[in-house]
Structures are given as C-alpha cells and as structure tokens.
Symmetry: D2
Subunit: 336 residues, 4 copies
Amino acid sequence: MMIRVAILGATGYTALELLKLLVRHPHVEITALTSRQEGKPPVSQIHPQLHSRLDLPFENLTLAEVTNRADCVFCCLPHGASAEAVGPLVEAGKRVVDFSADYRLTDPAIYQHWYDKEHVDPQRLDQAVYGLPELFRDQLPAAQLVANPGCYPTSANLALAPLLQASLIETDDIIIDSKSGVSGAGRTPSLVTHFPECNENLAAYKVGEHRHTPEIDQTLSNTCGQQVNVVFTPHLVPMTRGILTTAYSRPAGNASADDCMKALQEFYAQQPCVRVVDHLPATRDTVGTNYCDITVRRVGERILTISCLDNLLKGASGMAVQNLNLMHGFDEMTSL
Amino acid sequence: MMIRVAILGATGYTALELLKLLVRHPHVEITALTSRQEGKPPVSQIHPQLHSRLDLPFENLTLAEVTNRADCVFCCLPHGASAEAVGPLVEAGKRVVDFSADYRLTDPAIYQHWYDKEHVDPQRLDQAVYGLPELFRDQLPAAQLVANPGCYPTSANLALAPLLQASLIETDDIIIDSKSGVSGAGRTPSLVTHFPECNENLAAYKVGEHRHTPEIDQTLSNTCGQQVNVVFTPHLVPMTRGILTTAYSRPAGNASADDCMKALQEFYAQQPCVRVVDHLPATRDTVGTNYCDITVRRVGERILTISCLDNLLKGASGMAVQNLNLMHGFDEMTSL
Amino acid sequence: MMIRVAILGATGYTALELLKLLVRHPHVEITALTSRQEGKPPVSQIHPQLHSRLDLPFENLTLAEVTNRADCVFCCLPHGASAEAVGPLVEAGKRVVDFSADYRLTDPAIYQHWYDKEHVDPQRLDQAVYGLPELFRDQLPAAQLVANPGCYPTSANLALAPLLQASLIETDDIIIDSKSGVSGAGRTPSLVTHFPECNENLAAYKVGEHRHTPEIDQTLSNTCGQQVNVVFTPHLVPMTRGILTTAYSRPAGNASADDCMKALQEFYAQQPCVRVVDHLPATRDTVGTNYCDITVRRVGERILTISCLDNLLKGASGMAVQNLNLMHGFDEMTSL
Amino acid sequence: MMIRVAILGATGYTALELLKLLVRHPHVEITALTSRQEGKPPVSQIHPQLHSRLDLPFENLTLAEVTNRADCVFCCLPHGASAEAVGPLVEAGKRVVDFSADYRLTDPAIYQHWYDKEHVDPQRLDQAVYGLPELFRDQLPAAQLVANPGCYPTSANLALAPLLQASLIETDDIIIDSKSGVSGAGRTPSLVTHFPECNENLAAYKVGEHRHTPEIDQTLSNTCGQQVNVVFTPHLVPMTRGILTTAYSRPAGNASADDCMKALQEFYAQQPCVRVVDHLPATRDTVGTNYCDITVRRVGERILTISCLDNLLKGASGMAVQNLNLMHGFDEMTSL
C-alpha cells in the first residue's frame, strides 16, 4: 500500500526532518511540497541535505491542488494559518497530521487566552486526536485529524503521565524545568537565535508565559482526572537539537523511586519509542532517534523525573511519522 | 603597598583565571607558582595565554619555600591536600585564600559524610571565614584564612539569601535547578568532559549527591536561622563558562515578585558585584566579569529566582581577588 | 542471505556508528563485539544510544572464537594491533574490513617511516584492497581484506583524483587545507579534546607530520601515474563531526572551473555517494549521511576543490558498510 | 589628559567591545553613543553586559551635535554611510577612527570595483592612515583620520608582511586560507548566522569574492614594493570569536622556517601586541586579548605562516584603542 503525502509549509526544520524520514518510508510517496516561495525552487535548493534524495519542487499550491495530489497531509504552517488549511482538507476527506498548536487544546477559550486570537475552526476541536501514541494509541487508527504534540509537552507528559495515573505523585505541586536546543525556535533568524547571542550562553525565557504550559496541563489533567497546573520554565541551551526535562513532584503516600521506575517500566513495556533507563539520560543518546529516555530519582521529599528526546524527532517529525504509521496500520517503527 | 602572592596548584583553570587577574593588579607581585610538574616549565608553557604577560616558572616548592616568598597564598589544591597545606601556612602567619571545600563546612561530621574522609585540620574550621563578600563582608578585613565558596553555592546563595533573610520565602521547600558550563569540571580530561561526549549534549549529573549541597544548606540556614535543606540538581551544559541557577521556592505570606525584587535591590544596593536586573539574565552577560545577575518572577504559587555568573570568576577566581582586595583594604573592584 | 558480523575493538566512535548502521542492515547479523573490558558489559552500557536496539555483550574473545562466530570481521583496533589480528582471520577464510592504517600503504618502508614501527604483516599488503569504492569499485567483490581509508584522505582523494586523472590540474603543486571535527580524534580523552580546550578554539595540528599524508600521496599518485607529494595541513574545529577540505591546485593547460566540474560530474555520474554540487558545500549537509559533497572554483591561477563529508560515516563506518555491500553483492546503499 | 569620545553606530559587536575597553580607559570619557534607535534607550538595554558599568543613552544625534560633544569619534557605521559622516567630522577638526572599509583602500577605482559603488569622499583617501600600528606606527601620532583595518587582513598582513619585507618568500604565489568565528558577520541576524545553521557546521564562503582581498593585496604590495595578488579563502567556523589564518607561500632562495621565525621575531621585537611563538597558535589563547600569535613552519617546498587573533579585539576594537593610544601619546597598551 502506498500513501500519497503532501507537506504544507515545507521550508522549516520539522519539514526537513519529516522529509528525511519519508524518503525512506516504503509506503509513502511524497507528491507535493508547498511554500510561498517564488518560482518553483527544487527542494535541494532550500534543503541541500536532500540533494539527490528527493527531486520535487516547492510549489505555491491551492488547497484544491493539494487535495488532488495527496491522501495524507502534514501541515507545518504557523498556528492560525494551520486551522484555516486543515478544515477544507479534512472536509475533502484527507487525513491530516497538524504540527501547529491549533488542534491540541480542546477548549477554544484556553486557546484564545494563550494565543491571543479567536480559534477559526473551534467545532473541529472535538474531532482531533492528540497524537501522543504512548497515551492515545487506540484513537489513532480511526483518526482523520491528528494534532501532533509540542516538543516540551511530549518530554514532560511522557515523564509524568504514568506516575500521575498510578497515583504515585501529588497532582498539585509539579515543577517542570526544561532545557531545549535552539532548533526548537524554528528556521526564521532572530537576534535570540543569532549564533553569537546564543552560543556560549544559557538563559531562561518566557518564564510563566510559554504556550506549551496549557498543553502540559491539559494532558496531565486528563491522565489523572484532576486539574493539574504545572510551573513550567523553558531554557535555551547552546546546542542544535535535544530537550532535557527535569520534573520535580511530591511523592504520594511516600512512593519511592523504585515504585516510580516500576510504574514507568510497566506503562512503557509495549511501547517501542520510550526507554526507561537506570542511568541519568543524556540528550546525545536520543538525538537522531525517535526515542524518549526517562529515569526517576528521589531526592529528599521530591521525586525527580528526568526525560530527554530529540525535539525535531520524538518532539515533532518522528512522532508525526509514528502517528502516520499507526493511522495506516503500518509497523509503528517504519522508517524510524 | 605590594603583596607578594603565591599560588599552589597553579596548572588548573581557576589558577589561570586568577593569574590573568593578578598580572594586572597594581598591588600584587606574583612570586611563586607551584605544581608537581617535573623541571621548571615556564608558566607560558602550561598556560599559553600568559605568554609575554608573566615570566615565572612552575616549581615543586616546599611549604617553607612558599612561606619565604609570599605574604598571601592562593591554594588551588584538591580537597584534602589543601587542608594539609593550609595549616602550616596559617601558622607561619600567612594569609590564605583556599579554593578547596576543606574550610567551607563548619561541621567536620558533615564534611566527612560528603567527602568520605576525616577532616585533617578540624580545629581550624572555626577560624575560617566563608569568603562570600556579599554576606560576610565584615569578617574579611581581619580574616587570615578565607574559604573561597563553590561556584554553584555562590549562584544559589546570592539568589536566595536576601529573600530568606527578609522572610519572603518559605524555608522548607526550595528546589535549585542549576546548569553549568564544562570548565567547572576542571582541567583534567575525562570521558564526561571529552568534547564529542559533552558537545551537543545536556544531562543532569550527581542528582541528590553533589557535594555543593551541604554548602548551600549551611549558608542559607545561617541566613535565616532555620535549617534549610534544598533539593539541588546540577546539569552539564555544552559551553565552556557560565552557571545559570533557577531556584523555585514558595512565597511566604503571599510575597510578590516585586517584594522580592525590592528586597534584592536593597540587599545589594552597595554591593558592586551583584546586579539585580529586570530582564531574564543570560550567562553571556556575566562571562568574563565578576558580576552575578539576578532577577525574580512569580509563577503560580512559586517564586522563581534566576541568577547567573561566570563559574571561573564570580564563582571562583574573581571572587578570590575580591576577597584579597577586601582582606587588604584595596578597592573591592581592583583589577576586576 | 545473512552475513554473521563481528566487530573487534567495539568501544570507539567508529564502532558505534558501524553498529547503528548494521542493526538496520537486512543482511547482517551482529554476532560478536570484542573489547578488553572486564566482565561482559552489555553494549548499551558503553553505548547508551544502542539501548533496546542491540542486545549483545562486549566480550574479550580470542581470534579463534571470533572465527567461529563470524563470516565477516570489522577490525577497529589501533594500528599495529590490527595487523596482528587480521592475519589469522584472513587465513581462517574470513573477510575483513580493517579500519586501521595497517593495510592502507602498499610500501612497508613508508609505513615504517610514518608509524615508527616495522610492519608485522608486510606480505599481506599486496592482497589488501584500498576500500575507496569510487576509485577501486571493481576490486571489492573479490576482496578478502579491505583497508578502509582514512577520513582526511577520503575527503582529499575524492576531490582531487578525478581532476588528476583527467589531467586538469598539475601534479606538483597541491596544497590540502583540511578542517575536522573532534570525533576524528577518537573516544579516548586527552587534554587536546577536553571540552574547555577545544570548544571556542581553532588550531592547526601535526603540520607537515600527519600520518594521513602518505595515504593521500599514494592514492593520488596511483590515479595520475606520477609521484604526487601534497602539502597537507589538518585543523581541529569545535564541532563533533564533519571534515571540510579546501584543496588548492594549479590548472593544467588553463583548465577552467567548468572543465573541472564536468570532469567530476562525469566521474561520479554512477556513484551514489558523491554529490557534485554547484553551491559551496557545508559539512552540515553531509553529517549523518554517507555522502561526500564536492564543488570547484577557480580563483586567479588556482583551482579550488572543496569537499566535505561526515568523518565517522563516509570517512569511516559508512564507507565500511558501503564496502561490505559491494563485497557481498548487496545494493551499494543498503542501510546507508 | 581626558579625551571626550563619541561612537557612531554603537549597537554592534565591535562597538560593544570598544565600550568594554573604553569604560576602563583612564584617559577617555565616553560622551555620546549614536544609533537610529527610537527613544533614548540606555546602553544597558542593547548591551546588558554594560549594565552598571556605563550610564548613557543611545541617541539619534546630528553630526553637529556629535562635533560638540567629542574630541575623537569612533565610526562604526556601514561602508558608504561611514564616508558620509567622516568628512564633516574631520573638517570640524575631530580625530576619527573609522571601522568601515571606506578609507582603507587608497585607489577609489578598486573600492568601486569591490564595493559596487562610487566612493563619496575620494579626495580624503590620501589623508587617511591605515591603522595597523605594527606597520604604520610612525604615522599615527599625527593622524587625524585612521582607517581601522579589517579582521582577516590583520591576521594575514601581520603574518606575511615581515617575510615579504625581508624577501624570504616569493611575492607571486601566496594562498591565504582563513577561518573565522561567527561574530565577524556582525550582529544583524541572517540565515547563515542562525544558530542551527552554523553550529556544528563548517563551510567556505565568498570564495574569490571577499572584499578583504584587495585590502590584503594593497598592504602586502606596499610592504615589498611589488604587486601581490593573493588567493584568499574565508571559512565560517562554529565559534563566536577568533580568526586563524594559514598562509602558504613559496620560500625565496630556499629560506628555512628558522630564517622566517628570526625575521618575525626581529620585526616584532618592540611591538607589544604580536607574539611570535614556537607552538602552533590556537585562537583560544588570543580571544579576549589584543594579541596576534604567529608561528612559521616549512613543509616541503612551502612556508606556512599561521597566525591567530580575536577578530573583535586585535581584529577590530582592540586595535582601534591601540590606535587611539598611539594617536594621543598614551601608553600603547592602555586598557588593553
């Protein structure tokens, strides 16, 4: 079986990683790449890594043209723009994996609060599946619209959800200190991501204001059936790829690190993309892969859950391919 | 007035930074550099940065020889070895700034617990001044033995001590998530600090076991008069210099971020090496300087205090020169 | 068809990259990993990246044991040690890909001059095939012993051999200025590769003395039938992976950049691992792949050939798998 | 004696480094910082490193206002814009150090060829002194207008001029392979300097087209009295600061490396900012200083001269302060 795939907004880093995975996917034919580029530049001009591996131009296509060419669409557009494209594609019967935040939050009021704009397609929020396979695997085969999760939420949710579900940690006292490589900021140059500014530098940013906060809260709340409000602090680290999350929570009923490790091992026993490890995980070991590595320690009255992943793979494009595989009944690890 | 200065164990990074500061100090003459190097290699052979700036050999000197040559001794030896050298020097009437942990902890039992060895010079612990000028300025002019603080404790203590002293945060719920550049691990090669291992990598290390923990606990406890036991998690960041500390505490009596900022501004109003800033501090702005930059935010039910400094300067050698200046009545910022 | 593969000296970076390629090779079963490690540590302990991907211990095996377990042996031992292992393996009928320099130079006197020791297995030098498929493809299917080329020589030889063969550049005036990431120095820690020493630093090393020089000279001389003696200068660049070579030569008969580009395009037309590109190549585009990207410019009276590759893949383990594929009649790009 | 100093275009990296030097210069009072910023933002808002060290706003001043406030003006404007500002300042009797290329090339036709625009102030080119103190020291005390040299030319000219002057190398066969950190590209963000693009990456750029080429040719030609046309290839290295230049030339009359080293040592014997070293120089040892480190090797029929410096200090702002000192009769190393 071959799936014809289109990618909307294919100039960014997540699209590049997606393309690198899809060109070696045995069941995928890439049929369209869209962007607002003038002319029809070959993909190798924007992404020289793909030279001789993919011979396709960027095109400024209409949604109708995309509909004609593809069975499945990966949407890498900015939030807002994404919701405008997804509606017509879904209505034309296409399956869509959306990389933006537009379909991640189920409550349009929370979306409006954090994204400063009214949601343009709120009636479709119920229909979207939150594409974190380790938590919502069962919903993927039938999903028509998948909201691909954010990178920080994935690192935090995979670390904490099993412990909340097993009632091993308290729900009302969770601090998430995350550190990310610079590719998480995307491909558009800015002073913050200018090499001499972020090389040899470390800083927190958007403290208390990062838009991934409600996404973490929503998933963790769903997991445990209670409202969770985390304190989330992102930091920018001088490396290209990788996220490390150090989560601090309070043990429930004096749960030990061993109790937590066992809960994680059990939860992920049949999940091929999460490795519960004894050692302290290092982003290096996950970069270039679709793995999330997790461990637990207890320090004083705190449970520390430490997780890491490649923000562009398990935190974005790798997970999108994992979702594609599960949506279409392919082996979950195909091309990963 | 000229002070004759010797440096023991002068091959490491803290010694190099110390030398770079001292060669332009108007009241200092560097008279001896010791190491176990064979021969008498010129300093520029080990530290090429000092080529043409300092013409002095490394020598394998006895403590008696050091005593003859110097008025003030900077001791950059490993812990344990340091305590063996400091005693005779102090008894010979020398003033000593010790970079090791040997005289930082006032309780020899705590030292033994964390350093796995009995303290060889416990009777002198009372005499040592903890050389964090912002907290113990008054004791420095008369100090004969100064224990130069650790890099992580300095970033944490400068961020939290004023808030504890002002009773703006609770004492029993402090989490310190710190991130350090690799030079903090010293100049001895190891797999962990091998470039391909730590470049493009991020990981926590020594979780719950780092020896700077009791040093933070001791200073914060002294500040507020209650026992403080922090959760301290260090991380290794792919950059050479800089420490960023993100400290999470619980506001006392609903203290606001503004309350905390005011307390910090007041506390450091006359202290030239701490800058209380409105923006989120970045290690880049402190590297190469003796500044510690600090700010505060409130997120939900937490006070976040974020501080940064150059681990080799304000976290080690810069502070040592600051201590030297205050010990001898020089302007605090001389050569800094 | 399945090949049973053993790797000798499997703790280093080239072995790790080799393993990452081989675990997804459809015709390879990895059956033995040797090292002098005590005990039988699982591979994931030394290489956490392989956690859950390969379940095999490191073992301190005899050559006889290796012979029993494997059809094909990748030898990642140091030079000298390698020649001692290769002989018995070849005599036992095994096919061997040797990563060391031991079988690269055909003249044992040149080996002795550059490696300061007598060659222990000189009679087998004639039998070894220099495993640069783009130049010696025809010899690989029948090869029993393949000398896997050095990383610098591969970047230089792929850039220059076609131009020499086409008589487009002079043979007596070639300067090769190469720049390499730090992983080229291997996994053993040293001061030179200590993060704070090589991060934010650039330097030339082993000027006029690098052991890859005779390997470049030999291959280029073979290509054009005249003795070539290049000036070769390696530099250490603060990045983990990648080599960029800037080669300066003198045009023969006023050859233009276009003439040279055409010669390269023709030479590599049917070679899947070399991309002749119009733009100035960047190591980033080849890292993680088995490609070598090459372009040509003419500046004044000089032809500049600029090439880049991933030193651990096309410069080592990727090429070794390419060799394996060609030796066994698999598709050249299998698992690459 | 106090000099009132203004900096035009003070938001970039060279201005920041200049400010860090000037705030501790005992004979300088900084009186004006200009930019086209709206409002009058304090310098610490643009350059947080200067927080608490300099209390001055950026202002959008006219040249008349600058003239009133300053005795000496550092002009950090883009080329073209610089020439428009310098004329009026010089005519108002101010002394000017210009960081742009506008007054470096003595021939306006060459300027027009490389900079694609007619020079707006050609009649003043004769009056400008090329501010490389090691070559033109005598002209600086009387200079009213100093053209501060480019970073690449400084690394190349300091390495080669003494050898050309001593007739130790041929004039017609010089290849300059230079490698620079990213801060050389300035503070304006672009895709090329976007962290994920240039981190872990190495590439040549502007091959045969870099505007520093005629500046090198001019200075070297002046040195030896013959027309020199170098082949110059710049590369972008993933580090913030530092330039390393590897220059390949042909020995004249079989000159040895020793002959060349002696010539360099003699030439720089009384020059405090150049260190002729025996070891292979590393950018690390010059970053943060105003030193240029140089050594020589002979490899086959080639002389290799290898030099390095901090592109923002000896390659820009450090040299500008050195020029200021020599123009005003201060000690050459003041504040350096």
